[in-house]
Subunit: 76 residues, 2 copies
């Protein structure tokens, strides 16, 4: 799971449109779009502004780690 799909997930679960999410997070609509399209050169603080809405924040993870989707479709 990468960041972009993580956000899309959270957003659709919350039933928000991109404009709504942008507004609630206090970022531009453009930003939300680039975020959901996997742009890598985003500013960390802006990403966090969005994640905070869902109770998340960016942090260092071991490179292989299967992200934050606890007890769900676990391989073993």
């Amino acid at each position: 799971m990468n960041l972009s799909t993580f956000i899309k997930q959270k957003r659709s679960v919350s039933g928000l449109t991109q404009p709504e999410l942008a507004e609630k997070a206090g970022v531009g609509l453009r930003f939300i779009r680039e975020l959901e399209q996997g742009k890598e050169t985003l500013r960390l603080d802006k990403v966090n502004q969005v994640l905070n809405l869902f109770g998340y924040e960016m942090g260092p993870l071991k490179s292989d780690q299967k992200t934050a989707n606890h007890r769900k479709d676990a391989k073993s």
Copy 2:
């Protein structure tokens, strides 16, 4: 544990200086410094360039989660 101290940790354990880390990561020295000083408006891809050296990458974490420091001074 926040990102800046995480990096400082990893760096000192690796016995690298800031210039050495900058060079190995392919980022400017300035960047390493701002990173270690907790600047929040960093670019995600650059942060990842550095983290990759240590086998980490940025990803969404639940906001309270105690980061990546597995089995160490665990509360319970």
